[in-house]
């Protein structure tokens, strides 16, 4: 029974990944794209957790932990680039 649940969860997360990727492609501004990237990182953490459930290899959880921290650093770096480095849309 758990196998079917995990397959369904894979399908749902794949659909969510496609939706987030559409926003990543069409996002009108750079912050929109960074938001989509953040969501994709969260989805990847979910994927890794479900893969850990189906493969029973708990070492993958370390990867998810590192991914959670790296995504945060990426968002902060992009925000700093936007505020201090890039040109403004309002000008």
């Amino acid at each position: 029974m758990l196998e079917y649940t995990l397959m369904t969860a894979y399908a749902i997360l794949s659909l969510a990944l496609v939706l987030a990727f559409i926003r990543l492609v069409i996002g009108p501004s750079l912050p929109d794209r960074v938001v989509a990237l953040e969501l994709i990182a969260s989805l990847m953490i979910g994927f890794i957790a479900i893969y850990t459930l189906s493969s029973k290899a708990t070492a993958f959880l370390d990867v998810a932990m590192v991914l959670a921290l790296t995504a945060f650093l990426a968002a902060v770096g992009f925000a700093r680039l936007l505020e201090k480095g890039a040109h403004r849309d309002a000008d």
């Binding site: 939706l19 987030a20 926003r23 969501l39």
Partner: protein, 131 residues
């Protein structure tokens, strides 16, 4: 058997929350609304899936790692959302056309990044102030 049903329920619920987050990111009309959708639902989705993982393994090492992942997500996600919302406002990303509240309007200088705490002059106030 009962634990299997519980784990399935938690994992499916977490995956559905992530789907709702992705739907919100795609469908919401505004940067701040998209942030609202992705942050809350993303944290809840990761938390529910990790809870299912903890119940499945019932192991101290796995529980500690899952707790660390949930803790890091809960710590970093609001900060990242705040920083992105601020960067979006500063760079002049337009708000939704039907937004009625912009408290920083008139109190923020877009070039010098200066914030003023006093009330803005009357001509700078939003037409739909109040409510």
């Amino acid at each position: 058997m009962l634990t299997e049903i519980l784990i399935s329920l938690l994992v499916l619920l977490g995956a559905l929350f992530m789907l709702v987050a992705a739907l919100g990111v795609l469908r919401m009309p505004d940067l701040t609304m998209r942030l609202h959708a992705t942050t809350k639902a993303g944290v809840l989705g990761v938390g529910l899936i990790m809870l299912g993982l903890v119940i499945y393994f019932m192991n101290l090492g796995v529980s500690a790692r899952a707790l660390a992942i949930v803790g890091f997500t809960m710590l970093t996600s609001p900060i990242a959302a705040h920083v992105m919302g601020r960067a979006g406002y500063v760079t002049g990303v337009p708000m939704w056309q039907h937004s009625i509240k912009d408290e920083l309007k008139g109190r923020y200088h877009p070039h010098t990044h200066e914030l003023a705490s006093h009330a803005p002059p009357a001509d700078a106030q939003a037409p739909h102030d109040g409510h």
